[in-house]
Chain length 438, copies 2
Amino acid sequence: MNIVLLSGGSGKRLWPLSNDIRSKQFIKFFKQEDGSYESMVQRVYRQIKKVDSDATVTIATSKTQISAIHNQLGDEVGISVEPCRRDTFPAIALATCYLADVMKVDPEESVVVCPVDPYVDDAYFEALKGLSDQADKGEANLVLMGIEPTYPSEKYGYIIPESAEQTASVKTFKEKPTAAVAEEYIAQGALWNGGVFVYKLKYVIEIAHKLIDFTDYYDLFAKYDSLQKISFDYAVVEKEDKIQVQRFSGEWKDLGTWNTLTEAMEESVIGNGTMSEDCSNVHIVNEMDVPVLAMGLHDVVISASPEGILVSDKEQSSYIKPFVDNFEQQIMFAEKSWGSFKVMDVEDKSMTIKVTLNEGHSMNYHSHKHRDEVWVVISGEGKTIVDGMEQNVSAGDVITMSAGCRHTITAISELKLIEVQLGDAISVEDKQKFELEL
Amino acid sequence: MNIVLLSGGSGKRLWPLSNDIRSKQFIKFFKQEDGSYESMVQRVYRQIKKVDSDATVTIATSKTQISAIHNQLGDEVGISVEPCRRDTFPAIALATCYLADVMKVDPEESVVVCPVDPYVDDAYFEALKGLSDQADKGEANLVLMGIEPTYPSEKYGYIIPESAEQTASVKTFKEKPTAAVAEEYIAQGALWNGGVFVYKLKYVIEIAHKLIDFTDYYDLFAKYDSLQKISFDYAVVEKEDKIQVQRFSGEWKDLGTWNTLTEAMEESVIGNGTMSEDCSNVHIVNEMDVPVLAMGLHDVVISASPEGILVSDKEQSSYIKPFVDNFEQQIMFAEKSWGSFKVMDVEDKSMTIKVTLNEGHSMNYHSHKHRDEVWVVISGEGKTIVDGMEQNVSAGDVITMSAGCRHTITAISELKLIEVQLGDAISVEDKQKFELEL
């Protein structure tokens, strides 16, 4: 099975854990049998590999997610990087060309496109295999997944099939309806549209060439920012007559808000949290080092991270976005390809951060125009290069770098350091990268 | 008026703002007209000075509160330091001897002893003056304050006076009753016991000499830890026949819990906090740098500090103490006589703290056996002394100190620094102090 996971945007609806640079799919909410936690994307990837160990998995995403993907899934997974956001048709076309031109997948093979964040059991991925097999037959140009509705939801689009058979032709599509209209659809045998598209690779390549003037993946990538924003539904699905739907009746949840997410959590507390016995339906997700204490609460989610603290009625948690948009958000924590950093202190003319470098990783070789920096290594072994001079460092070593001075550090073993930045104009933009001249 | 304020213990009931070393009376909850905030002790001290600008104010407290008292009230205020906790009779006897032997107060003068944390208006302190004047007359050996009850409280002891006059002899005392019994007392004209004791200085000195073998204040201080734990009520009040009570009907609140404290707060948010419009009776007290967002909550208090995060139903907030007692509490923030510090990061073999030194102040000259330290000055001007060597420092300067090396820093202007401690056994106990040999 060739599977493309669409890994969406920033998702402030799970603030303070998700933010502009950390998407919800990378947050480790789900406890595994061995006691460790996995993220949505790790869970989905693990499930796919369990159902089909030979599956080719490609994640269609933006540049900002590459580090997190490699940190969480390793280097085996394919990544189709969207240079900018251009809606689902360009994203799927680019990922499909990536499969054809980079991964050399046969144009006759089927491709399964699905969201990166469904909360499902393994049966869902078995069903995807079924869809892929169905597309292989060539009876239709597109095969979709229809989820059997459990209630007249207003959140989903509906697919009305020609028959109640497991695989049926699609009669018509319906936009998100009111609950009353949804009940009518369901009476007609309608299914929720699961956002899954299955097709033979050549099918989308041909449509892409009709709609966009390009030669191959590399050309499409180069002109990506000039592409029109258009959805796959609008560009492809609505114009296609030969569409089938396969029904799926297993567990399927959309974990977009704290309310739905906490329903899927195994435990009521992740991190350092305590609650009194009279709390009911309370969840604590605490990424900070200090304790959270909840007393006498009902139907509340508490989440604390270096970005902030949310305390919300579960129902109301769907409405946090406009509030969060108003916060002047300094990124206080980030996972990078080389490790992570956490902002510990911000003053007018200084900023202090904690940097963790993964074993074998380095920062870019870089300098700053407007700030001096001091590193104090607190654990691990590493090697610094400062203006071309190499030095081995370990806990207790101090490295001072004036503005303009080029510097990097490589972790021989996992290395942690405190970085103090000093200057009148401290900014993430103030960074010049250089090739190492060694 | 000579007034002794009894400044009590740690008060975990306002966790995470109060803790083992930071008592509730020093937290700045109360907004003043100029927009700044004052603490309970600042509010009470200001009110006393307004009512009686010549008042001699002495705070009876433990050593741990001295820094906070001087920071908040300046150096004018007297402090009677209890070397250890020995209940109210020894504390009041010690403070009374302090007034006699250190402050040279005339034995014929009256002394007003009152709690440090009543939330009252100026009329309360006018009433204390009235009690002091009454004690001056010598009609009774003790004059107490009786608060006119507003409801049959189970939280207070009751005083039953001989008559309903403004000043009356005390008929009898009653322990904290049930609500039903309290109603009976009130029907008999009972008053709440306000915890105020007024007497002529010589009266308590004489009783102290009867009960304790000592010569003067200095001797009593020296043998303080051998004294029996006994309350002033038990040792003095219950054995005295000549007691009067003066009634007080003004505002009087006991701000011991988040529930009562938030009732006295002018604003619903202190610090960085936002709440949705559908929140009702919600208070946010946030001492952290990051935002707190409250959505759809009712009757809830949220408090965040470097020690932890409390989210509690207001009623239930009275019951946090046993939970907080269970937390392994590392002190993450402290106000000192010279400034303050905040723990920013704790690892196995390192700890990183931010230190703020007030202008003109110094640390002790000290060394550590088991850790190295690095200072990075982030703002201000100062002078370091390291193993006897002086150096002027300012932002960007780095000072490294190996274990055993003696060091101090003086702030010429307010000075902030990041201190990284490195070692296998980092502990607050690992500190040797030295006289400066300059």
